[in-house]
C-alpha cells in the first residue's frame, strides 16, 4: 500500500484538526497491522504535523512516545526517517512548556533527550539552542531578569550552521524578531529584521501570523495602542483567513482580542464570539490562558463602557453560568472568564514556582485613547 492510498482511505477529505488526526491514527494502525514500517513511520510524523499546526498539540505528546519506541525498533530505517522523527521531536520540544501538566523536570528531560538525539544522528545543535533560548526567554526573561543564559543559548545557536532541522527563512526571521523584541527590546531593529516577513517576501504557514502578533503584543505592553491595533488587526485578518475554523492559533487570537478589547471593542467581541466555540475543545493550558485573558479584557472594557448585558452562545453547558437564553450580565461573564484565566495562571505559576502568569493577569493597561464601542 502506498502512502497516498492510506491518505485516500483514511483522511484525505477529513476536517483538518481533530477529525483528520483520528483518520491518520487509523491509518497508522492499518500500517502497523500490515507491518508496513516505512509508511507507519511517515504517518506518525504526519499525525504530529497535523496536530501541531491544526490542533493544540496535545495528541502529539501522547503519540510521540509510541512513535519514538517504534522508530527505535527499526534501526535499519534510521537514516531514511531520522529527519521526520527529529522534526516531530522538535515540535514536541517547542510546546512542552505550554502544558502545565508537564513539570519543569520533565521538560528538562525532554530537552536532554532531544540533545542526545541530535548527537546520535549527527545534527548540529542549532535547533536545540533555538528552542532552548525560546524556553529560557519564556521561563526567565519574561519571568525573571536573567538575561545571560538566554543570550548564551542564542549565541550558541547563531554559531551553529543551518541544517535539516533549521526553521525555514521566515521562521528564522520571526525568531530573530522575537529575540530582538522581547530580549533586546529594540523595536527599530526588530522592525528592520522583520521587513521581509512584514512585506510578504518571506512566509510560511505560521509566519507572519506569529510576527504580527508579537509586534501587537510588544506595542500593547509598551502603551502604544495605535501600533498594537495596527498589528493585531493584520494578525487577525491573516489568522482568520488561514486558521478560521481551527483552534491551533487560539493563543494568538486571544492575544489579539486583548489588544482589540482596548482599541475596538466591537471587533474584539466579534472575534471572540466567532472563536469561542472553535477554541473551546482545545486542551492546551497556555492557549486557554491567553484566550480567556483576552475575554477578561474584553468584558472588563465592555463593563467599563457601561454595557450591562451581552448575547453569547457559551459552550460551557455544564457550568452554572450557562443560560439557554444566551443573554448574560457583562459583569458576571467578566467574572466567569476571570475565574477561568485565573485557574490557568495558578496552574502555570505553581508549575514554574513563581507569579509570572498572575502578574500578567493583574497588569493594568491604560491608554490615552481607547475605543469602547458597545453593541
Amino acid at each position: 500500500m502506498e502512502l497516498y492510498e492510506y491518505e485516500e482511505e483514511f483522511y484525505e477529505f477529513l476536517d483538518p484538526g481533530e477529525s483528520r488526526c483520528k483518520g491518520i491514527r487509523r491509518a497508522i494502525d492499518k500500517a502497523l497491522e500490515r507491518q508496513d514500517i516505512k509508511n507507519a513511520l511517515t504517518l506518525y510524523y504526519i499525525f504530529i504535523e497535523e496536530d501541531t499546526f491544526e490542533c493544540d498539540g496535545f495528541q502529539s505528546f501522547i503519540i510521540f512516545p509510541e512513535y519514538l519506541a517504534f522508530f527505535e525498533k527499526y534501526p535499519e530505517y534510521h537514516d531514511t526517517f531520522k529527519d521526520e522523527l527529529m522534526w516531530a521531536f522538535k515540535w514536541i520540544l517547542g510546546s512542552a512548556e505550554d502544558f502545565y501538566q508537564i513539570s519543569l523536570k520533565q521538560i528538562t528531560d525532554i530537552y536532554r533527550q532531544y540533545g542526545e538525539y541530535c548527537d546520535k544522528f549527527n545534527y548540529n545543535k542549532r535547533s536545540y539552542y533555538r528552542h532552548l533560548w525560546c524556553l529560557l526567554d519564556t521561563f526567565q526573561i519574561r519571568r525573571f531578569p536573567l538575561i545571560s543564559s538566554v543570550e548564551e543559548a542564542h549565541k550558541r545557536m547563531m554559531h551553529c550552521s543551518i541544517d535539516n532541522l533549521s526553521e525555514p527563512k521566515s521562521g528564522e526571521i520571526d525568531d530573530l524578531t522575537s529575540y530582538t523584541l522581547f530580549v533586546e527590546r529594540n523595536i527599530e531593529k526588530a522592525l528592520k529584521i522583520a521587513e521581509p516577513v512584514l512585506s510578504g517576501q518571506e512566509w510560511c504557514n505560521v509566519v507572519p501570523h506569529y510576527t504580527y502578533t508579537n509586534f501587537a503584543d510588544y506595542y500593547f505592553d509598551h502603551g502604544d495602542l495605535k501600533n498594537a491595533m495596527k498589528y493585531a488587526e493584520r494578525a487577525v485578518r491573516i489568522i482568520n483567513r488561514d486558521f478560521g475554523s481551527q483552534s491551533s492559533m487560539m493563543r494568538y487570537k486571544g492575544r489579539c482580542i486583548s489588544v482589540l478589547a482596548f482599541g475596538d471593542t466591537k471587533k474584539a467581541l466579534k472575534l471572540f464570539r466567532r472563536q469561542l466555540t472553535v477554541c473551546y475543545p482545545n486542551t492546551c493550558g497556555l492557549d486557554h490562558f491567553y484566550f480567556y485573558r483576552g475575554a477578561y479584557h474584553l468584558f472588563s472594557q465592555l463593563e467599563k463602557s457601561g454595557q450591562k448585558t451581552v448575547r453569547l452562545k457559551l459552550p460551557f453547558k455544564e457550568e452554572e453560568i450557562y443560560k439557554e437564553s444566551c443573554v448574560y450580565s457583562v459583569a458576571k461573564i467578566k467574572d466567569f472568564f476571570y475565574s477561568k484565566v485565573k485557574f490557568y495562571a495558578d496552574k502555570f505559576d505553581e508549575r514554574d514556582g513563581n507569579r509570572h502568569f498572575n502578574k500578567m493577569l493583574s497588569k493594568k493597561y491604560e491608554f490615552e485613547e481607547t475605543d469602547t464601542n458597545m453593541e
Binding site: 477529505f13 477529513l14 476536517d15 483538518p16 484538526g17 481533530e18 477529525s19 483520528k22 483518520g23 491514527r25 487509523r26 494502525d29 496535545f58 495528541q59 505528546f61 501522547i62 503519540i63 510521540f64 512516545p65 509510541e66 519514538l68 519506541a69 517504534f70 502544558f99 501538566q101 508537564i102 513539570s103 523536570k105 520533565q106 528531560d109 525532554i110 536532554r112 533527550q113 512585506s199 510578504g200 517576501q201 512566509w203 507572519p208 493584520r234 485578518r237 482568520n240 483567513r241 488561514d242 478560521g244 475554523s245 466567532r274 466555540t277 472553535v278 475543545p281 486542551t283 452562545k313
Partner: protein, 597 residues
C-alpha cells in the same frame, strides 16, 4: 580605520547577471520593450498638448534573421535624459526620484528593462527624438561589456524612440537567439504579453501594418459570450460561468471564471494577471483569496506593486484591500445568482461543494446566501442546509466519521437526524448553521446525548438482567468502562461502545505507556492523572438482541465473562477504536475458552 570604502562594480558582470539571471526567459525582452514604448506614450499624452492619444502607436519591424526595430511615438529622450536614464542601472525615467516613488501611470519601475535585450544581442542601438527638442536626433549604442556611446545623427525619425537590436550575439545558444529574429515569434510574444495594451501595437512589413493587440476594455467587459470565449482561449477551459471583477476603488478589473469540475484546495489555480494591461504573469497565485480555488481569472490591475521577479505582488495593505474587494465581487456574484439564477448556484455548490464550504468556513459575508445550499451527509440521507434548519427540534452532529457510521443506523431507525461533520470545513459550517438556525438546535453530539437517545430497557428491574449488569460492570471496570442495559434498533447490534473525549484520550495514553521510554512515561502519567477523573466509557447492552437476552438467562459466570469481554472488543472494533495490546489478547483467549466450554 574610519575611512569609507566604496564597492567596485564589474559592469559587464552586472549586466550579465541582470540580463541573463533576473529574467526567466529571453522572451521577456519583448515585454520590456513594449513596456518602455507604452510608458513613453503615456508620458507624452500627459505632457505634450500637441499630441493626441488617438495617434499613439508602437510599431515593430522584423528583418528576418537579422534585426528587430521597436518604434514608439512617445516622449523621446534628450541627451541629459539618455545619460541619466539609459545609462544608469537601476534608474528609470518612470521613477520620481525626489519623491522616491514610482509614477503611477507607468508600468516599469526598475530602470533595468532595456538590459533584457542583452539576452538576444550584444549591442543595443537606441535612436531617439525628444518632443522637447525635436531638432536633435540622438543615437545611443550600448554594449554588453557595459560601455556606451552617444552621437547626434542626421537620419530623420518621428518624435519618439526606436530601439534596434541585431542578431549578433557571440555567445550562448545562437539557435535559440535566432528564433527571436522572426516576425511570427515576435508577433506571438506581443500577443502573449501585450494583448490588452491600451495603445495599438503593429507589425510593419513595408507598407503593410497588422494590429497585434485587442481593443478590449476590462472595465466594460459586459459581453458574456466574448468573455467566455476569452476564458477558453487564454485559460484553456470551457468554464461553467463567468462574471466581472470590478474594484470599487479602481484597484483592478477583470473576469472571473468558475471551473466546470471539482478541484482540490491544494491545487494552485494560475491566474492571468496584467499590470497596467501588460501581462505580469500567467501563474499568479496570491491575488485571490485562498478559498477561491474554484475560480480562475484574467485580471488587470493598476496599483498593485509587483515583486522584482515580476511574477507576483508584494504583500502589503493594497494587496489585502484588493483581496477583500475580489472576495466582495465573488459574494456579489453569488448574491446575484441567488436572486436570478438559483439553478446555476445549485450547480456550482454541487460541483464545488468543498470549495463553497471553504468559502463559508473562512468568511462571514456569504452565510445567508450559501448556507441553505450546502449538502450534508446525515442519518436520513443527503440534506441541504435549508432542510436541516427546517427539520425542527434538536439535531446532533459528530466530527468523527466513524462515530457517524456507527450511530447513523440507530438514528435512522428512529427517524432522527445525525449529521456527519467529520469532513473538511463541516465542523465550522455547522457551527454557523447552528447560529443562524431559529427552528432547529444543532449541537455537537456528546456521550450523554447518545445515552438519552437510546431507549430504557424493558428488562430494567428484572433480577436476572440486574445480575448481568452487575457482573458486566465488574468485568469492564478494568477497562475503565461501565455497562448499561438499553434497547435499540437494529436488533442485530448487540452492543454499542461510547466514550467521551477525555476517556478517548485516556485510552490513547494507556496505549502510549505500553511502549514509552522513561523520559516520557512521567509526562504521560501526569496527563493521565488529570484526565482519569473525568473519563466516561460505556458499553450498552442491547436487550433487543438475542445474544444479550441469552446472556441475561445465563447462569455460568465464566461464560458471561467470556461473552462480555468478546462483546466489548467486538464493539471497539465495530467503532473503529484502536485496540490496546491486551485487548486483542483478551479476544483470542476468550474465543479459545468458548471452544473449551
Amino acid at each position: 580605520m574610519d575611512k569609507d570604502y566604496k564597492f567596485k562594480v564589474n559592469l559587464g558582470g552586472m549586466i550579465d547577471i541582470l540580463s541573463n539571471h533576473l529574467y526567466s526567459s529571453p522572451d521577456v525582452f519583448v515585454r520590456e520593450l513594449l513596456q518602455n514604448g507604452t510608458d513613453a506614450i503615456s508620458a507624452r499624452t500627459a505632457a505634450d498638448s500637441n499630441f493626441s492619444e488617438n495617434d499613439a502607436k508602437v510599431e515593430i519591424e522584423v528583418l528576418e534573421g537579422k534585426k528587430i526595430i521597436f518604434r514608439d511615438n512617445g516622449t523621446g529622450l534628450n541627451e541629459e535624459e539618455i545619460h541619466k536614464f539609459l545609462s544608469v542601472i537601476g534608474q528609470s525615467s518612470k521613477y520620481d526620484i525626489e519623491n522616491n516613488r514610482a509614477n503611477g501611470d507607468y508600468i516599469g519601475r526598475f530602470g533595468i528593462g532595456l538590459l533584457s535585450c542583452f539576452m538576444v544581442t550584444d549591442h543595443i542601438c537606441v535612436r531617439t527624438r525628444s518632443y522637447k527638442s525635436p531638432d536633435t536626433i540622438l543615437e545611443w549604442k550600448g554594449m554588453a561589456d557595459g560601455t556606451y556611446t552617444i552621437e547626434k545623427i542626421n537620419e530623420e525619425i518621428e518624435i519618439g524612440t526606436e530601439i534596434i537590436i541585431e542578431n549578433n550575439k557571440a555567445e550562448k545558444d545562437s539557435d535559440v537567439v535566432d528564433d527571436y529574429y522572426n516576425c511570427d515569434t515576435i508577433a506571438n510574444l506581443v500577443y502573449y504579453y501585450g494583448l490588452f495594451l491600451k495603445y495599438p501595437v503593429y507589425t510593419v512589413n513595408g507598407e503593410e501594418r497588422t494590429r497585434l493587440n485587442l481593443k478590449f476594455d476590462f472595465d466594460a467587459a459586459k459581453n458574456k459570450e466574448l468573455c467566455m470565449n476569452m476564458g477558453k482561449t487564454f485559460l484553456g477551459e470551457d468554464f461553467l460561468d463567468c462574471f466581472t471583477l470590478k474594484s470599487p476603488s479602481g484597484l483592478f478589473s477583470g473576469i472571473a471564471y468558475v471551473l466546470p469540475y471539482p478541484v482540490s484546495a491544494n491545487v494552485r489555480n494560475m491566474h492571468r494577471i496584467y499590470l497596467k494591461n501588460m501581462l505580469l504573469t500567467e501563474s499568479g497565485e496570491r491575488l485571490l483569496p485562498e478559498w477561491a480555488f474554484f475560480i480562475r481569472c484574467i485580471i488587470n490591475t493598476n496599483d498593485l506593486k509587483p515583486t522584482s521577479s515580476r511574477e507576483d505582488f508584494y504583500e502589503d495593505e493594497t494587496l489585502d484591500k484588493a483581496r477583500t474587494e475580489i472576495a466582495d465581487c465573488i459574494a456579489d456574484y453569488f448574491e446575484d445568482l441567488d436572486f436570478n439564477n438559483k439553478n446555476m448556484l445549485y450547480e456550482i455548490v454541487r460541483i464545488h461543494n468543498l470549495a463553497v464550504k471553504s468559502v463559508l468556513s473562512s468568511s462571514d459575508g456569504l452565510d445567508d446566501i450559501l448556507l441553505p445550499y450546502i449538502m450534508f451527509e446525515t442519518s436520513l440521507g443527503e440534506m441541504t442546509g435549508k432542510e436541516i434548519t427546517e427539520f425542527g427540534g434538536t439535531t446532533f452532529y459528530t466530527v468523527d466519521v466513524n462515530q457517524f457510521r456507527q450511530l447513523a443506523p440507530l438514528y435512522a431507525q428512529r427517524s432522527e437526524l445525525l449529521i456527519n461533520a467529520g469532513y473538511v470545513y463541516e465542523n465550522a459550517i455547522l457551527t454557523k448553521l447552528a447560529d443562524s438556525s431559529i427552528n432547529t438546535d444543532i449541537e455537537k453530539l456528546t456521550d450523554t446525548d447518545i445515552d438519552f437517545m437510546l431507549d430504557d430497557s424493558d428488562f430494567d428491574g428484572d433480577p436476572a438482567a440486574e445480575k448481568l449488569l452487575t457482573v458486566a460492570s465488574r468485568i469492564l471496570k478494568k477497562y475503565d468502562c461501565k455497562a448499561a442495559l438499553k434497547e435499540f434498533r437494529p436488533f442485530d447490534i448487540p452492543t454499542l461502545y461510547t466514550i467521551n473525549e477525555k476517556a478517548y484520550e485516556a485510552r490513547q495514553i494507556r496505549r502510549a505507556k505500553e511502549s514509552a521510554n522513561e523520559v516520557f512515561m512521567g509526562m504521560l502519567s501526569s496527563f493521565e492523572e488529570e484526565i482519569s477523573s473525568s473519563t466516561v466509557a460505556c458499553l450498552y447492552l442491547n436487550t433487543n438482541n438475542l445474544i444479550v437476552r441469552k446472556l441475561i438467562d445465563c447462569e455460568d459466570k465464566e461464560k458471561i465473562r467470556c461473552y462480555i469481554e468478546i462483546l466489548y472488543v467486538q464493539s471497539l472494533l465495530s467503532g473503529h477504536f484502536p485496540l490496546l495490546h491486551n485487548e486483542m489478547k483478551i479476544l483470542n483467549e476468550n474465543l479459545y475458552k468458548l471452544m473449551m466450554f
